[in-house]
Symmetry: C2
Subunit: 456 residues, 2 copies
């Protein structure tokens, strides 16, 4: 049966790409209230597609953006798989750096360019099309599909939703496709992800903006002071200088170090593509820095005049968005607290400080050696024709932690993206071969996972 399903997918290759463009045209930017109606429209469109693929699909409200929930007809005696994805996307700005508009999907070369092309609409689409291809024969597993609309803003209402709908979500294993292949020709399964703590720091100096001539030299300038404060976040070895920051960090095992060393990682090509010098924590390789070491990055900073030319102002306020990527076994809440305390203690004289935590998510780690992992590896080999590498990821998918804590199950991170897909950046894309092999992999995965021993 799988052979026939794969043939169906091969025959529909072009059709799958062109229908994905309809999904991508909806500007489902979750962080921007101006797109609230687009979020609804996107959830409705997706729910309709899942219904056409034979699932019972519905839109479930949350206190934020709605969740799309769908399930196949339950047949006892089979494993149940929970597929998770998200239909929301990152803001597209800066708009002027897109070659073609972010919400007008365009094929150039062998890739489809649009905001959300790979993160995560394109990868969700591979599963929707795999489900559709199984429709004639019937899915070999029981399937629950949960596609949320708040992943890019910290999945704020998802825990509440999963708790309230626990019974509908019970499964033996979860599957997420929101990660990458290691490289073109090196498909991969991801067994660990970093966590994320996202903070905002605001310094206030004088009660209002001042003329830098009439006051300069005698009043605190919060922009000067914010630079001074944020410069304390790293030491000279590139380590994050917050008390206790590294205390709980799980070391890289010798086995992992060896496994990663054999991957075709070209540091020169990495630097060349970004036109930059790889720099970071001393004593670690680029892969180790991205996969297994925590970070602290300023994601945004703003103060004073930013228009063309000159304005001689001493701003009243200066603020920065600062996020930390966490690794196993750092405690995200403890890190948020340590950051806040360090900033408050180091706040330069003359400024008052406000520190806000936007979100905190711990890192995720799934067992590297397990029956489910082996079945997933077989599915990738069927889909791509190549045995997958076992890798980590530097990003964060908060739901992996929720799935573990609320539903008690592990997650298979079987992703189809490529490292140069420009996720979160202008000119985000999804490779059309990856879309095709990914759709085949998803179809094979639902067949392979029928062999899983579980609680079913």
């Amino acid at each position: 049966m799988l052979k026939s399903v794969l043939q169906t997918i091969d025959a529909r290759r072009k059709q799958i790409a062109s229908s994905l463009a309809d999904f991508l045209r909806i500007p489902s930017v979750s962080s921007n209230p101006a797109h609230a109606a687009d979020m609804q429209r996107c959830a409705q469109w997706l729910s309709g597609q899942l219904a056409e693929a034979g699932l019972e699909a519905k839109i479930m409200p949350t206190r934020g953006h709605p969740v799309v929930l769908a399930k196949s007809q339950h047949r006892p005696g089979r494993p149940t798989v929970l597929f998770y994805g998200h239909y929301d996307v990152q803001p597209p700005d800066p708009l002027d750096l897109w070659t073609t508009p972010p919400f007008e999907p365009t094929v150039r070369g062998n890739a489809l360019f649009a905001r959300g092309a790979v993160d995560d609409k394109g990868q969700v689409w591979a599963h929707v099309q795999a489900i559709l291809a199984w429709q004639e024969h019937g899915l070999p597993v029981n399937l629950v599909v949960l596609v949320e609309g708040e992943e890019e803003i910290g999945s704020e209402h998802l825990a509440e939703f999963m708790g309230a709908n626990h019974d509908a979500l019970v499964a033996d294993i979860a599957v997420i496709s929101d990660t990458n292949q290691f490289a073109r020709g090196v498909p991969a399964i991801t067994y660990a992800l970093r966590g994320l703590v996202y903070m905002e720091v605001t310094l206030t100096g004088p009660s209002h903006d001042l003329h830098s001539g009439l006051y300069g030299g005698a009043v605190p300038n919060p922009a000067n002071l914010l630079c001074e404060l944020l410069a304390t976040l790293h030491d000279k070895q590139g380590r994050v200088d917050i008390p206790g920051f590294y205390d709980q960090v799980a070391p890289i095992t010798p086995q992992e170090r060896e496994m990663w060393r054999t991957l075709p990682m070209d540091e020169a090509a990495f630097a060349g593509e970004l036109k930059t010098t790889p720099i970071g924590e001393a004593g670690f390789s680029t892969l180790e820095r991205i996969w297994a070491r925590p970070t602290c990055d300023i994601n945004g900073i703003t103060a004073g005049y930013q228009g063309p030319g000159a304005k001689t102002v001493i701003p009243s306020k200066a603020s920065a968005k600062v996020s930390m990527r966490l690794v196993p076994n750092q405690d995200s809440l403890a890190i948020s607290d340590a950051f806040t305390e360090a900033m408050q203690q180091r706040c330069p004289r003359g400024a008052s400080i406000q520190v806000v935590c936007h979100s905190h998510t711990p890192a995720a780690l799934v067992p590297m050696h397990s029956p489910a992992m082996e079945l997933a590896a077989e599915a990738v080999e069927i889909g791509f024709g190549i045995r997958p590498a076992l890798i980590r990821g530097g990003g964060s998918i908060p739901v992996v932690g929720l799935i573990k804590s609320i539903l008690g199950i592990d997650t298979l991170l079987v992703g189809f993206g490529l490292p140069d897909d420009r996720v979160h950046s202008p000119d985000e894309k999804f490779d059309l071969d990856a879309l095709h092999s990914g759709t085949r992999t998803a179809a094979a995965l639902y067949e392979r996972l029928a062999h899983l021993e579980g609680i079913h």
Copy 2:
């Protein structure tokens, strides 16, 4: 005759304030190309008012915004006075912090609130009204009026204009009203101003914005690095840490120190009004820091995501506008070069740096004891009923240096503002008593300066 002129001004007190509002309604923001037509309209309006006051007025093009040039009928044997002002204003943002819109002049309490109320339209208006009040009797001096439209953007084309129109501008003394009284009840003449060097520093890391999860920890973050770089601008004593920065600084004389010590400077009130702690270079009072010590302030900084909520981006670029206020005898070009060199040498590994100089103007110092200064002091005493203090100013008026170098004459800085006028900030205002006394002072000044021995 002066008595009659002052009576005219006293009688027109309300009318002077209400006609100033017409001047303030024109949004003559020189830095914003969107206001180019408003700049033309403002020049035309002002030129019309000067013509109504009996001068021969015209609008002269420059390669930037036009200059308004007007002159009285030349009568030999009298001193010639050059009055300089500017009709352009600072950008009004942040707009949401204005109590009433910046270009809808509104009287609250005893003040007129609008962008440009005191800097410099309101003070130019005092002179226009003084000239008008002299119309019946005839001005006692030969007068040349030059009102430019580029003061707030560094007077870029003024030197060229003054050179090209040298003969029309020849005078014995210059007068500018673009400074402050020391305090309410303490009118003042300013004998020194600080200079200004305005720079922009841009760091570039990766060639495009990156996902902070997929790349964070292994690539240079220009926002992190810009904070690190700008934090080197000051040492722990609050001194500017650029090689050679203080080498040419003229020390404060014992006479000046004593003179300033007797001024009614209330450090607690200064801090209280700004809701901040006065901080700055160690070893100097607030007045000394503002008047006689150079500074380095970040006027604007920008990188990455600045909207609501969170975006996990590593920005490709980060930039800051940084200006330095200079004191006599610092060389503005040498300081610009030293800043550029220091930033380039300290540029953190992983970033490329661009440093641009937007403008550089040296400090100005006019003789404290001279016949012109004494005549001006008498005029202020007539206008305000109080003998003025001799003070310095922390701001910069580039034209003072140009007047000295191109026309070879000194400038009397007789200003009418109050220290809490919120120049360059939201809710800029001009006190209506100051407008009135200032108009009286201008009228008296044109009478007193007729006694000047000069080249006429």
